[in-house]
């Protein structure tokens, strides 16, 4: 797949299955189109629903009249927020973000105010999507239009219009806690501070200090499959939901909480998913489809359009940041100050905490002061997006560092290595790092042919940047059932994203001495398997992997017990080598996995095991992007000539899918760097709500992304696995910015670095006579 696989990886030397590249179990369905996704659900009598969405970015809802819609022939049900029960504020654990059912409900169907253009207000179920669409337009809503607040710095001003009349600022000491209520009403939902050492003293000892301001705008995850949900509320009160989401249990728990019904009454059936990247964790459609189904007495399907996806689902935060870093002549960083204000969209909950925690993570800095603000705006409520909150912060930090290295006259990679974090160094919250691969990633860059090959040609430049992500752990469950022919079925609750079925199956196969093909992995519904967190936070191969390994170990123990019975010995006296159980007492007593499976009905009955994971030592990830660009000085257009993604993956279970994640994150990062943006008009309308004008890179905009896998094993996983899905998106923006500087001498401090913006910066450079 890439040039880097010629050298055997660490995993290939130690394992039989881990580190190989078997064909994924679900491959055929993916390439033939036989697999079923959210919108493919068809049920007898199924109705189609459409949402009515707000045309205003900020308005009070004075009246909703649905009578005309209800009277339209073919319409079977109409729902608004009045159909939702009143619920309390109460957090639901959703891995990277905390869900609050009250907020989720308010976001799914607005009650007293609409908070962004595209905010859902009502939904109609009808016998065809066209009737539903027509009926939705017949719903009359009376608005009192209010002034929208679209920029974080504007929103933080004392006289800014309030988005939530009762929102008060919380002082937060620790991420994922609510902190202390200051009682101050404003658009600032929270202020989080990290402080280590003495920054004033640190800066006083610096020879060079660089301070820069940075801004970024919201960007969308851009998954190819729009949200789609089908709900069937049976007469006995059992609700079944078929949905495109990153986590069936998350959708179940949110829906049950929003609707005020027991979790036992909700079954969520996961469909194959056409991408999520964090955007399909929170629920949008599921409770609405459920309410419509309850009212209509028939199954109801809702499928979003791309415009609805852009306007009604979470992008990630835009931001305003100020980064100040000082260093001595010898290249030692003495202090850093970092101010971050992230737009949360309509409800509190931006990922600014992660930006604050992780932006400076690659560097050992004794004196640090970080202030992070979560600010509500009249934009769609932000959702997680691949390493949420960290790419923005890394753009600021890594750009500032590059400039600092330039001013110090130190080669940027040397500068980074001088200050690289190692095991035991403290993070900004004071907690020391465990095993980390920061230095290994940086050494790998220096030794890579891309880095060592000179870049020639006018207006061409090379840039590098580091990235860090903490990765998620959370809980997963897995069940293994042994078949009499010695194959196994593996049921997990993890929706397959990026090849997690095969990656988890390979870990079970490794334990049991089986081939990956001997394992049939199934993604179960919420009644078929134990509770499992979302596929997100780079946690699935890691945490669901641990659940599968634990279940496989139980299977192995049961099989040893069966063999022990036969050999009249103790299970402890039996070894498992290369798929064969061997008695240590008499080495001629041998039974293969297949033989024990074949005789299991006679030796005690079916062999099955269920296990769950609750890992503590989550392996964190360092990564880097090295990129070459060429800038057209006349048009401002930046062409990516070459890009290499470096990443410490712990242990690459299936290297092809690890490389796929590294390439995918890099591509999304390049898109974020160059052209992707929510382009809002002054009234808060997203002017570019289509893939034509929301410019994600196409294959014609990118070179093949080279990958360099670095394996510093994670002690918290039996095979050393670290999460791999997210960190690759963190570094590209700063790497591209640094490459642009290397090419034409300008420092881009705003994203996207679109041709118009680059042209403006080049003009300023020319006027300044640089």
């Amino acid at each position: 797949m890439t040039t880097t696989v010629e050298r055997p990886t660490e995993s290939q030397r130690r394992f039989k299955v881990i580190g190989t590249r078997p064909i994924r179990h679900d491959g055929l369905g993916k390439v033939t189109g036989a697999d079923r996704y959210g919108a493919d659900v068809q049920l007898p009598g199924m109705l189609h629903a459409k949402m009515l969405r707000s045309p205003h970015a900020h308005a009070r809802i004075k009246k909703i009249d649905t009578s005309k819609a209800e009277a339209l022939p073919g319409v079977k049900a109409v729902v608004t927020s009045r159909d939702l029960p009143i619920i309390d504020d109460k957090p639901i654990d959703l891995a990277e973000t905390l869900g609050n059912p009250r907020v989720l409900a308010e976001n799914a169907l607005a009650s007293s105010k609409v908070l962004y253009k595209g905010h859902a207000i009502a939904a109609v179920a009808a016998t065809s999507p066209h009737i539903a669409e027509e009926a939705a337009e017949l719903i009359e809503v009376e608005y009192e239009v209010l002034q929208p607040v679209l920029d974080v710095r504007e929103a933080m001003k004392k006289d800014a219009p309030l988005i939530h009349e009762k929102l008060t600022t919380h002082e937060v000491q620790r991420r994922f806690t609510r902190g202390d209520d200051t009682g101050v009403i404003s658009n600032v939902a929270s202020h989080l501070q990290f402080k280590q050492g003495d920054v004033a003293d640190g800066f006083s000892r610096a020879d060079v200090v660089v301070e820069r301001e940075f801004t970024t705008v919201p960007v969308h995850q851009g998954y190819i499959e729009p949200q789609a949900s089908t709900a069937q509320w049976a007469p006995d009160g059992h609700l079944t939901i078929w949905t495109s989401s990153q986590g069936s249990f998350g959708i179940r728990d949110q829906t049950a909480a929003i609707l005020g019904i027991p979790q036992s009454m909700v079954k969520v059936v996961p469909m194959e998913i056409g991408g999520g990247f964090g955007g399909k964790i929170g629920t949008y459609l599921d409770p609405v489809a459920a309410l419509l189904s309850k009212k209509a007495g028939l199954p109801v399907k809702i499928v979003m359009t791309r415009k609805e996806v852009f306007e009604g689902t979470g992008p990630t935060s835009g931001s305003y940041m100020r980064c100040k870093i000082g260093a001595r002549r010898d290249g030692t960083i003495t202090a850093a100050e970092f101010y971050l204000a992230y737009g949360a969209g309509a409800f509190p909950g931006s990922p600014v905490g992660a930006g604050a925690m992780y932006g400076l993570a690659p560097y050992k800095i004794d004196n640090v002061l970080i202030d992070a603000y979560d600010v509500v705006l009249n934009n769609p409520k932000v959702a997680a997006y691949r390493a949420p909150g960290t790419p923005q912060a890394a753009f600021a930090v890594e750009s500032t560092l590059d400039e600092l290295a330039e001013k110090l006259g130190i080669e940027p990679m040397e500068f980074r290595l001088t200050n690289a974090v190692r095991e035991g160094d403290r993070q900004v919250n004071g907690i020391p790092f465990g095993s980390v691969g920061c230095v290994e990633v940086e050494e790998a860059i220096k030794n890579h042919p891309h880095y060592r090959t000179p870049l020639n040609g006018a207006n061409r430049g090379r840039g590098v940047a580091m990235g860090f992500w903490g990765n998620g752990g959370m809980q997963s469950s897995a069940t293994i059932n042994v078949n009499t022919d010695g194959t196994i079925s593996l049921i997990t609750g993890s929706v397959d994203i990026g090849g997690t079925r095969v990656a988890v199956a390979m870990q079970a196969a490794e334990v049991l001495g089986l081939a990956a093909e001997d394992v049939v992995p199934t993604v179960g519904d919420t009644n078929a398997v134990g509770w499992t967190g979302i596929t997100g936070g780079s946690r699935t191969a890691f945490s669901t992997g641990i659940a599968a390994i634990t279940a496989a170990e139980q299977i192995k123990r049961t099989m040893a017990e069966r063999a022990a019975l036969k050999w009249e010995t103790q299970p402890e006296d039996i070894e498992f080598e290369d798929g064969v159980f061997v008695s240590k007492m008499n080495r001629e007593d041998r039974l293969t996995f297949k033989e024990i499976a074949a005789s299991m009905m006679a030796t005690g009955g079916p062999i099955t095991a269920s296990a769950s994971s609750n890992p503590r030592q989550v392996g964190v990830s360092f990564a880097a992007t090295l990129v070459d660009v060429e800038v057209d000085r006349e048009t401002g257009k930046v062409q990516i000539l070459r890009a290499t993604a470096f990443q410490d993956v712990g242990m690459a279970v299936h290297p092809s899918y690890v490389e796929g994640q590294m390439q995918g994150g890099t591509v999304q990062g390049i898109g974020w760097a160059l052209n992707e943006e929510y382009f809002f008009t002054d009234d808060g309308t997203m002017a570019n709500s289509s893939f034509l004008d929301y410019r994600m890179p196409t294959s014609l905009d990118l070179p093949a992304i080279d990958t360099e896998i670095i394996e510093v094993p994670n002690p918290g996983h039996p095979f050393g696995v670290r999460g791999v899905g997210e960190v690759s998106i963190v570094a590209p923006m700063a790497a591209v910015a640094n490459a642009i500087h290397d090419a034409v001498g300008i420092r881009m401090t705003s994203l996207p670095m679109s041709p118009g913006e680059v042209l403006k910066a080049l003009d300023e450079q020319q006027r300044a006579g640089k």
Binding site: L674, N688, D693, T698, L700, P755, L759
Partner: protein
């Protein structure tokens, strides 16, 4: 079509009209499929008579035609730019013209190549120059019941060359922030005549006659090209929107005019 007047639309490749209908840009009662009408599928290309291009001929048939590719490389530039490969199997140059988008990639080329439109309607046939066809964004001169049947390109003159290029932030699948079509006829190293047309910088494609006029009689060199580029910028009256600002678009017209003219001149001199 005449019966339904403005509530009727012609459908050829459908790459604009179907998208616009779905986006509810307009409501209509009748969509008339015209792509089986023989005259609208004509593709005749000779050095003597020029090119007759039926309005429904898809882009892929244009660039796969060797005579067209040889005689009108400027037109091929546009045919290649409209949509991706799949879209080019359906989208037509005639449709691009009738859609009358300010950003249309074919129209500046057609203007530069002196194309004319053959129109048929209830009152008979008429012919107009392409530069007179568009009247506003999405608006054209076709009256109720009228159809664009074909486009005629006169035979290429000796020592002539044309080129169209646009600026887009991506490398493909995008709408022109600005575009420039240029054609030149050379005579003994001097520019005998030239035509320039601009995309995405006004409510309709702009026929930049003043800018082209600065070239006539001059040596085909850098200086002449730069003068024309400066003049072309004056013909641009763009707006600022999500695709680009006024300043950026005017600037780009200068850059693109220079680049289009250089390539057109090179082609006139025999370059590929």
């Amino acid at each position: 079509m005449a019966e339904k007047g403005s509530r009727a639309k012609a459908l050829a490749g459908g790459t604009d009209v179907l998208v616009q209908l779905r986006a509810k840009r307009y409501l209509i009662d009748r969509l008339v499929d015209i792509k089986k009408i023989p005259e609208m599928n004509e593709l005749t290309c000779t050095e003597q008579a020029g090119l007759v291009l039926g309005a429904a001929v898809p882009c892929c048939l244009i660039y796969e035609n060797q005579d067209v590719s040889r005689l009108y490389p400027g037109l091929i530039d546009s045919a290649f730019l409209i949509g991706g490969i799949q879209i080019q199997g359906r989208a037509s140059i005639g449709g691009n013209l009738c859609n009358a988008a300010p950003s249309a990639d074919a129209i500046p080329t057609l203007i530069a190549l002196e194309a004319t439109c053959n129109i048929v309607g209830p009152k008979g046939k008429r012919t107009i120059a392409v530069e007179d066809f568009c009247t506003g964004p999405g608006q054209n001169v076709l009256k109720d019941g009228e159809l664009l049947v074909s486009i005629h390109l006169p035979p290429p003159k000796r020592n002539s060359g044309a080129h169209y290029l646009r600026f887009i932030p991506r490398n493909e699948m995008d709408i022109a922030v600005a575009g420039v079509g240029a054609s030149v006829v050379l005579s003994n190293g001097k520019i005998e005549s030239a035509r320039l047309a601009l995309a995405s910088v006004a409510p309709t494609p702009v026929f930049a006659t003043k800018a082209a006029a600065t070239l006539v009689g001059k040596e085909a060199n850098e200086e002449a090209v730069l003068e024309a580029a400066e003049e072309a910028k004056k013909a641009a009256k763009p707006i600022s929107d999500m695709r680009g600002t006024i300043e950026q678009r005017i600037h780009l017209v200068g850059v693109l005019t220079k680049r289009a003219l250089n390539k057109a001149i090179a082609r006139a001199k025999g370059a590929e």
